[in-house]
C-alpha cells in the first residue's frame, strides 16, 4: 500500500484528533499508512471506477497511524526503548496523560477513586488529581451516565466507567437518546465528548449477567463511535484518541485481557479510532476479529500455518463505523472472509459486518462470508459449558479449512 503522508486540512478520518500536536509524536518506523480518503469518496462497492481513488493517500497530517504490521510479539521492537506494562496499566497511563494534558478531563464511576478502580485502571489517579476530577459515584448508572453527558454538554470531557459493561444497560436511555442524539437534535449546538468505557465479554465463570457483550446492543445508536481494544499498545492509543475525540466514544475492554503484557513506546502516540489493525498479513483468507477473539484467532493461525495456510488476520478495532477500507482491500486480495467474534450470533457485530461485506464487496468473494460467534445463550456458569459458548481455536481452524477448499 502507498504510504505517503498528506498535509493540509480536510475532512477525513484523522480529524477526530484535531487537538493533536504532531510535534510531540514520533512515527514508529514500522508504520504502514493506509491511504487517505477524501471526504466525498464513496466506499468501493465493487465498482472499478473507484479503484484509483482507493489508492490515494489518507489524510494524516495530525495522525500517526499505528497499524501493527507484525504480529503482536514484535510490536515495539523497532522503536528500541519502550517500557513493558500490563494492559490495565496502559489504560491508566493513557488516562493519566490525558488528564494531565487537559484539565477538562474527569473520571466518574463506581469505586474509581479511593478504591483505585475495580480493575485498577484508575489506580492512583484520585490521589494525584483529587476528588473533583476522579469521582466516586454511588451505584446509579442511569444518573451518573446522565450527569456525565450533561457535564459534557457544557464542555467537560468525562470518562464514564461502567464497572462491567453489562451494568450500562441501566443507562441505555441516556446513552442512546442523550449521548448519541443530542448533537443532531440540537442542530449541532452541543457536542458530547464523553468516553464510556468498561470491561465486558465472557470472563472466567462470572455468570450470565456479568458476561455480556454490549457492543451488539449499542451498535445501532446513531451518533456514537465504538472501539474495542485488545493489546496494551492499542488500549493506550485508543483511550487517548477517545478522550480527544469530540464525539461520544464507547471503549470496550475485555475482562480477561487486563493482564496482557507488552512493551509499548515511551513517546506519546495515539491510535486512529476508525482504523483496523493488520495483525498478520496473508494471502489465503481474511480473518476479521476484535478484542479477546484476536488471541484465539492467532492461536488458530499457528496451527493453520503449520498446515500450510496463510491467513490474513485483521483486528477490526473500530466496531462503529467499520473500517471498510482496510477490510475491503483485504477482501480484494484474499477473496475469502471469516469473522470470529464473541458477540451473540443474532444481531451481533459479526452479523452487521457480514451484511456490510456482502453489500460492498460481493464481487470479490469466492465463498460466502462465514461468521463464528458465541452461541445465543446466556453464558452458563459451568466451566465446560462456558467454554463451548465462545468460539475456540479448533473451530476457527475447521472453519478456515472449510472455506479454503
Amino acid at each position: 500500500m502507498a504510504a505517503r503522508i498528506h498535509g493540509g486540512a480536510g475532512a477525513g478520518a484523522a480529524t477526530a484528533l484535531s487537538t493533536f500536536n504532531p510535534k510531540k509524536l514520533v512515527a514508529p518506523s514500522r508504520t504502514n499508512l493506509p491511504a487517505a480518503r477524501s471526504s466525498k469518496r464513496c466506499i468501493v462497492a465493487g465498482g472499478g471506477s473507484d479503484a484509483s481513488k482507493s489508492l490515494s493517500v489518507r489524510h494524516s497530517q495530525k495522525l500517526i497511524a499505528s497499524a501493527a504490521v507484525a504480529t503482536k510479539a514484535e510490536t515495539s521492537a523497532t522503536t528500541g526503548t519502550g517500557h513493558e506494562l500490563l494492559l490495565f496499566e496502559a489504560l491508566q497511563e493513557g488516562l493519566e496523560e490525558e488528564m494531565d494534558r487537559d484539565p477538562h478531563v474527569c473520571v466518574m464511576g463506581e469505586d474509581v477513586g479511593h478504591y483505585g478502580g475495580s480493575y485498577k485502571v484508575t489506580k492512583g489517579l484520585a490521589d494525584k488529581f483529587g476528588d473533583l476530577r476522579v469521582l466516586d459515584t454511588p451505584i446509579c448508572e442511569n444518573a451518573f451516565t446522565g450527569m456525565g453527558i450533561g457535564a459534557a454538554m457544557t464542555g467537560l470531557r468525562p470518562v464514564i466507567e461502567g464497572m462491567n459493561m453489562g451494568f450500562l444497560l441501566l443507562a441505555f436511555n441516556q446513552i442512546s437518546n442523550n449521548c448519541g442524539m443530542l448533537h443532531y437534535t440540537s442542530g449541532g449546538q452541543f457536542t458530547i465528548p464523553v468516553v464510556i468505557r468498561g470491561p465486558g465479554g465472557v470472563g472466567r465463570q462470572l455468570g450470565a449477567e456479568h458476561s455480556q457483550r454490549l457492543e451488539s446492543y449499542f451498535q445501532s445508536i446513531p451518533g456514537i463511535q465504538m472501539v474495542a481494544c485488545s493489546t496494551p499498545y492499542n488500549a493506550k492509543g485508543l483511550m487517548k484518541a477517545a478522550i480527544r475525540s469530540e464525539n461520544p466514544v464507547i471503549l470496550f475492554e475485555h475482562v480477561l485481557l487486563y493482564n496482557l503484557k507488552e512493551k509499548i513506546p515511551d513517546e506519546e502516540y495515539i491510535c486512529n479510532l476508525e482504523e483496523a489493525e493488520m495483525v498478520r498479513p496473508g494471502e489465503h483468507i481474511t480473518i476479521l476479529t476484535y478484542s479477546r477473539m484476536r488471541y484465539h484467532v492467532m492461536q488458530a493461525a499457528k496451527t493453520l500455518v503449520n498446515k500450510g495456510y496463510d491467513p490474513e488476520v485483521i483486528d477490526i478495532r473500530s466496531l462503529k463505523p467499520f473500517d471498510l477500507y482496510t477490510i475491503g482491500n483485504s477482501v480484494k486480495k484474499t477473496h475469502r472472509v471469516l469473522i470470529v467474534e464473541e458477540c451473540m450470533r443474532t444481531g451481533g457485530i459479526g452479523a452487521s459486518l457480514t451484511a456490510a461485506i456482502n453489500e460492498n464487496f460481493h464481487d470479490y468473494l469466492d465463498a460466502p462470508v462465514m461468521c463464528l460467534s458465541s452461541q445465543d445463550v446466556p453464558t452458563p456458569y459451568a466451566g465446560t459449558l462456558e467454554e463451548w459458548t465462545v468460539v475456540q481455536p479448533a473451530q476457527i481452524v475447521t472453519a478456515v479449512e472449510q472455506l479454503c477448499q
Binding site: G12, N178, N247
Partner: protein
C-alpha cells in the same frame, strides 16, 4: 374620580382568597395622585414601561418550606418589570395559541406540548437569574426557550420543521436548545433531563462558575428513579442544582393523587430542602428562584415545587377533558390565570390603561402572525442535512439512505 379605574376589579380580587392580590405600593402613593390629576385621554402618551422605581409586591400565598426558612412574601419589583412580565407572558400565551391553530392546520406534526397557563414559571425564573445560569427542561419547552432569548421566528420555524429553526428543523417541538443562553433543552424522555441537569451543575462547580442549574420536570416525572439518584449525588457532592417540579397536577392523563403516594413533591427530597410556591404568581416564582439560587450556591441542592396548571391537554393529541372537568379548567382560568393577575395589578396600580394593554396585545398578535408568516416562507432543510451533525467533524465513512443505489452521502 377616574372613570377608567375599575374598582370592581380590585374588590372581586379581595373576595376570592386564592387570587387576592394585595398591593402595597408605598413609594407610589404620591405619584398616584399625579396620575389622578393628569387627563387620561388616549392622546396623552406617558411612558408606561421605563419606570424602574422599586415597588414591593406581596405574593398572594405564603411559601411552604421543608427543611429551610421560607423567603419573605414581599417581592422587589419595578413598573418596568411588571409591564415586561405582562408583555412577555402575553407573547408566550399568544405563541402557544398560535401553535395550537398551526397544529390543527397540520403544519406542525408529531407531538406538540403547550405551556399556556404555566407562563408565570418561565417568566419568574428568568427574572431571578442570569444567562449564565442554566435551565434544562422536558418537552414543554417553547416558552422557556422564548424566555431564554429565543425568537418567535426560530420557534415557529422549528415547529414547522424548517431549516431556520433553532435546531435546524431536526429536533422538533421537544428539542429546542439555545447554547449561548445556557438553555439545555428540550428532552423527550420523561425524567432523563434531571441527571443531565445535575451534570451541568457539576460542570458549573468544576469550572468554578458562580452559577446554578434549574432542572425542571413535571409531577409525572417526579416518580422517576433517576431523579432521586441524581438528587442523591447532588446532595453528596454539594452541586448547585435546583430541581423545579412544575406541578400541573396531571401526568398526561393521570391525576397526581393516582400517581404519587406523597404528592408533596417539595418534601420528596427528604434530606434536601424544599419550597412550595404558587406557580401562577410570577412574583412568587421570582422570589423563590432568587432564594433557591442563593441557597444552591452555598448549601447544595434544593427542590422547588411550582403549583401551576395547564389549560391545554398534555399535548395536542390529548383533548384534556377526559380526566378533568371543563369547569375545573375554566375555574382556574378565572381565578388564577397569571396574565390576568398581572393585568389587574397593572390596571389597579394605574401603570397603564386598559386600552394600552389591549394595544400591546394587538401588537403581540401581529408580531406572532408576522413570525408565522415568515416561518411559513422558510424552506425545508436540504436533503443533505439528513447526514449533517450526526458526528462532529465526521470521518470519511458512508451513511446509507433507504435506497442504497441513489442516496450515498459522505458524512461531513
Amino acid at each position: 374620580y377616574l372613570p377608567h379605574w375599575n374598582w370592581n376589579c380590585l374588590t372581586t380580587d379581595s373576595q376570592s382568597e386564592k387570587s387576592a392580590v394585595w398591593i402595597m405600593a408605598l413609594s407610589r402613593l404620591s405619584s398616584r395622585s399625579n396620575i389622578i390629576s393628569r387627563p387620561l385621554s388616549a392622546a396623552f402618551r406617558r411612558s408606561i414601561s421605563t419606570d424602574t422605581t422599586p415597588i414591593t409586591i406581596e405574593t398572594s400565598l405564603p411559601f411552604t418550606a421543608h427543611l429551610c426558612d421560607p423567603p419573605s412574601r414581599s417581592v422587589e419589583s419595578s413598573t418596568q418589570e411588571l409591564l415586561s412580565f405582562f408583555r412577555t407572558m402575553a407573547l408566550m400565551r399568544r405563541m402557544e395559541i398560535a401553535a395550537d391553530s398551526l397544529y390543527k392546520a397540520k403544519l406542525i406534526r408529531g407531538f406538540c406540548h403547550l405551556y399556556d397557563g404555566q407562563e408565570a414559571v418561565a417568566i419568574g425564573m428568568e427574572a431571578a437569574i442570569t444567562k449564565k445560569d442554566a435551565i434544562i427542561t422536558a418537552y414543554r419547552d417553547h416558552c422557556i426557550f422564548l424566555g431564554r432569548g429565543g425568537s418567535l421566528y426560530e420557534v415557529f420555524a422549528e415547529l414547522m420543521g424548517r431549516q431556520d429553526g433553532c435546531s435546524r428543523g431536526k429536533g422538533g417541538s421537544m428539542h429546542f436548545y439555545k447554547k449561548d443562553s445556557s438553555f439545555y433543552g428540550g428532552h423527550g424522555i420523561v425524567g432523563a433531563q434531571v441527571p443531565l441537569g445535575c451534570g451541568i451543575a457539576f460542570a458549573q462547580k468544576y469550572s468554578k462558575e458562580e452559577a446554578v442549574t434549574f432542572a425542571m420536570y413535571g409531577d409525572g416525572a417526579a416518580n422517576q428513579g433517576q431523579l432521586f439518584e441524581a438528587l442523591n449525588i447532588s446532595a453528596l457532592w454539594d452541586l448547585p442544582s435546583i430541581l423545579v417540579c412544575e406541578n400541573n397536577h396531571y401526568g398526561m392523563g393521570t391525576a397526581e393523587w393516582r400517581a404519587a403516594k406523597s404528592p408533596s413533591y417539595y418534601k420528596r427530597g427528604d434530606y434536601v430542602p424544599g419550597l412550595k410556591v404558587d406557580g401562577m404568581d410570577a412574583f412568587a416564582v421570582k422570589q423563590a428562584c432568587k432564594f433557591a439560587k442563593e441557597h444552591a450556591l452555598k448549601n447544595g441542592p434544593i427542590i422547588l415545587e411550582m403549583d401551576t396548571y395547564r389549560y391545554h391537554g398534555h399535548s395536542m393529541s390529548d383533548p384534556g377533558s377526559t380526566y378533568r372537568t371543563r369547569d375545573e379548567i375554566s375555574g382556574v382560568r378565572q381565578e388564577r390565570d397569571p396574565i390576568e393577575r398581572i393585568k389587574k395589578l397593572v390596571l389597579s396600580h394605574d401603570l397603564a390603561t386598559e386600552k394600552e394593554l389591549k394595544d400591546m396585545e394587538k401588537e403581540i398578535r401581529k408580531e406572532v402572525d408576522d413570525a408565522i408568516a415568515k416561518a411559513k416562507d422558510c424552506p425545508m432543510p436540504e436533503p443533505s442535512e439528513l447526514f449533517t451533525n450526526v458526528y462532529v467533524k465526521g470521518f470519511g465513512t458512508e451513511s446509507f439512505g433507504a435506497d442504497r443505489k441513489e442516496v450515498k452521502a459522505a458524512l461531513p
